[in-house]
Amino acid sequence: MNTRALPLYVTIAIFALAWVVCWLQFPAMASTRVIGNLLTDNAYLGIVAVGMTLVILSGGIDLSVGSVIAFSGVFIAVMLRDTGLHPLAVFALLLALTTAFGAAMGGLIHGLAMPAFIVTLAGMFLARGAAYLLSIDSVPIQHEFYKTLQGAYWLMPGKGRLTLIGVLMLAVFVLGMVVAHRTRFGASVYALGGGEATARLMGVRQGRTTVLVYAFSGLMAGLSGIVFSIYTGSGYSLATVGTELTAIACVVIGGTLLTGGAGYVIGTLVGVLTMGLIQTYIVFDGSLSSWWTKIVIGILLLAFILLQKGLVRLSQARMAA
């Protein structure tokens, strides 16, 4: 077994254990309703976390995504209110916009050899500012097509609703896995995260890969924005503050090394579901403050960082022996 896969197994084990504990206390946890809601409620987070996974695998970070999601919501709401465009056309326009935004950040990161942290931090302020510029107030979306999207679900046995956006998230995870693990682009992403100089020696086109990674993250943020607007039925410039950090937490809890080069897309899904599970537990319990979510996430994050450090030490010790 590869040591870099170990965090993934630990994540899956923790998730399974937590689920069993919740289920023993609240048997309803295993119902398809809860499962359906878990997917629906975390759809936007899961989608944006897929993009974040690739960015982190490449050794970078993208702090702009939370703001991009908010911008997307406001953009869609304002466009639907003020123009006669069909939502699908607006979606296409938006995705092109956010993808280009991501690509531009990737271009700056590579071209100016600047840290991704700073460039995407600037992107974060830019996108948030642009959202304010469009509208300060929450803008409701009242398009017939939106009602169709919101009402689209498949009734699972046990009356659980598998919603369109839940399915979309799962599809995005499949896409992410194919891109990361089965394409040359994906291999280049892992190579960059493993070591830029070596990756160049091996023939990785660093500039192209960097631009594509951030463009992909921008695309995912845009898609996540669409899903979020379907989920909330409105666009609000103050929404999803800090979502980029939650996404990073999901990626790390999912077993991806924050310094890049090691991890799995499927781990991120487990990370997202773990986070959703904690929230569900708090709702079921009823007496706990929702801040407990943050505390548990904090503890989990710390545990995973320690675990990964330990693994790195372990493999170094094995090399030295």
Binding site: R4, R182, T183, A187, Y190, G194, L201, M202, G261, M319
Partner: protein
């Protein structure tokens, strides 16, 4: 059959001619050693061949066709593959991914992992390796990683293989493994360039040897026809005929013992050694590149703290766990690479000179500006530093003057024991003499010195005692009249008791 021909290759860097009309031939089916000390031009030659540098003059022909690669990838496509000392693959990818990176078999646009594994296994069988190709490369030993790197380079290029110190971090058994692979490739008709500073390995493995020195080719000869002594003469550049006699500095009488290092050593850096340094004594360290000279100095100075042994002065034991502790004990160290480890290029001459003194006083007690100016002016005069003023950034000075600034910084702290690692490297002839003169001055005033140098004449001229190192061991000690170019070279050349591979 000649595979690769290099004719009058020249490469100029600002201030130096790194390669000066070098000729080099590589036949198909031979292993050709490329030897030389630091600055001889080995790495420049390799970088010109692999496209990392563009040459300034000369021709390179491969298979009769002139080539001028502009990148390592282009060189690879032409047939020249390289494996460097540091492993060139990604430890976080699997063996199969590393071997076939960029050439993965695809089906419907996606990587076909089954075919990927199969092809990787096929490649490795040729090298007698049976690895689990799905495991991360990083989980295998460095030797295996190195063989995988060779396999990748050969698969990509397939005509010329350049091995740049591929065995530097391997133990004897692993070196044997790599050699087996390299011999196998020679028998398949590849031309192999082998760079190493382990002479035993060179004699064990190679068919021909080319020696470079100061950017020129000195000799190319069959390995079998060259003996160790002559090879070292070629590398160090002095024939025994024009022997400079050791003219010991006027007898300064017996020296009071000052420092004693007993059994100090560090795994992978230098074998445990004993060393005593007297008051006002100059001890020279001689040996080839990679023999453990710098490592000895770094161990003493606490840069790579000793794992065994102890140090003591006349007042009792010394703890040398860090450079800070060593400085507190009155040590100083002017390192070999002054650009990265010695000067702070963006700071002014004055700031560089007071840096060490200020660090010792603590930042809470700044040295008054007037005092700083006085110190800087004083050392500019005493060491004859050529500068337009004390406020000039040190990076803009010439190499010799930068070295003087590094020395001034240590002298301002008035150490009792100063280590000079290659004090005259990259300095012009005039400054060279001045530095040697300065060493004599310091000794006159009672300072003890440890001098490391590749130039034997320099060591002979300044040292009271010379320690010779080979393969990270202190192997001989020469005193007074025993010190001569010949005795030093004989000590370096003496075949070791146990041979590697």
């Amino acid at each position: 059959m000649t595979l690769l021909t290099v004719r009058s290759l020249t490469k100029v860097f600002p201030g130096t001619k790194a390669l000066d009309g070098v000729d080099f031939d590589l036949r198909a089916g031979e292993i050709h050693a490329l030897l030389g000390e630091n600055g001889a031009g080995k790495s420049t030659l390799i970088k010109c061949l692999t496209g990392a540098y563009a040459r300034d003059a000369g021709t390179v022909t491969l298979d009769g066709r002139p080539i001028a690669p502009r990148s390592t990838v282009e060189a690879q496509d032409l047939g020249i593959g390289t494996v460097y000392q540091e492993v060139n693959l990604l430890p976080n990818l699997t063996v199969a991914q590393n071997l076939l990176f960029g050439r993965e078999p695809r089906r419907f646009g996606l990587i076909d992992s089954r075919a990927l594994r199969r092809q990787a296994r096929e490649v490795l069988t040729q090298y007698g390796l049976d690895l689990n190709v799905d495991r991360d490369l990083g989980s295998y030993s460095v030797a295996i990683q190195q063989i995988v790197a060779i396999a990748r380079a050969v698969a990509l290029s397939g005509k010329v293989l350049i091995l740049d110190e591929p065995t530097a971090s391997l133990d004897a058994r692993e070196v044997g493994m790599v050699f087996e692979v390299v011999r196998g490739l020679r028998d398949r008709g590849l031309g192999i360039v082998f760079v190493s500073h382990f002479l035993d390995q060179v004699f064990a493995l190679t068919d021909r040897i080319t020696v470079l020195r100061n950017g020129r080719r000195i000799v190319t000869e069959d390995t079998a026809a060259l003996d160790r002594m002559r090879l070292i003469e070629h590398m160090l550049g002095r024939a025994l005929e024009d022997e400079v006699m050791h003219s010991p500095p006027p007898a300064r009488g017996p020296r009071a013992p000052m420092l004693r290092f007993a059994g100090m050593g560090r795994r992978g850096a230098v074998e445990p050694f004993d060393l005593a340094v007297g008051q006002g004594e100059v001890v020279g360290l001689a040996g080839l590149l990679g023999s453990g000279r710098t490592e000895t100095a770094e161990t003493i100075f606490g840069l790579r703290p000793a794992q065994t042994g102890s140090a003591a002065d006349e007042n009792g034991p010394l703890r040398l766990a860090s450079p800070r502790a060593a400085i507190a004990a009155g040590f100083g160290f002017a390192p070999e690479d002054r650009k990265t480890d010695g000067i702070v290029a963006d700071l002014t001459l004055r700031e560089n000179v007071v840096l060490g003194l200020q660090a010792r006083r603590g930042w809470m007690r700044p040295i008054p500006r007037a005092e700083q100016n006085r110190l800087a002016e004083d050392y500019i005069k005493r060491l004859d530093i050529r500068t337009s003023g004390r406020e000039k950034p040190v990076g803009e000075l010439s190499g010799g003057n930068q070295q003087k600034v590094v020395l001034a910084r240590w002298l301002a702290m008035n150490p009792r024991f100063l280590i000079l690692d290659e004090p005259t490297r990259g300095i012009d002839v005039g400054a060279h003499a001045e530095i040697l003169h300065l060493i004599h001055d310091l000794v006159e005033r009672g300072m003890s010195l440890l001098v490391i140098s590749s130039e034997l004449d320099e060591l002979i001229a300044v040292s009271d005692r010379v320690i010779v190192l080979r393969d990270r061991r202190h192997v001989a000690e020469l005193t007074g009249a025993e010190i001569s170019g010949e005795t030093i070279m004989r000590a370096i050349a003496a075949a070791p008791a146990e041979g590697a591979a």
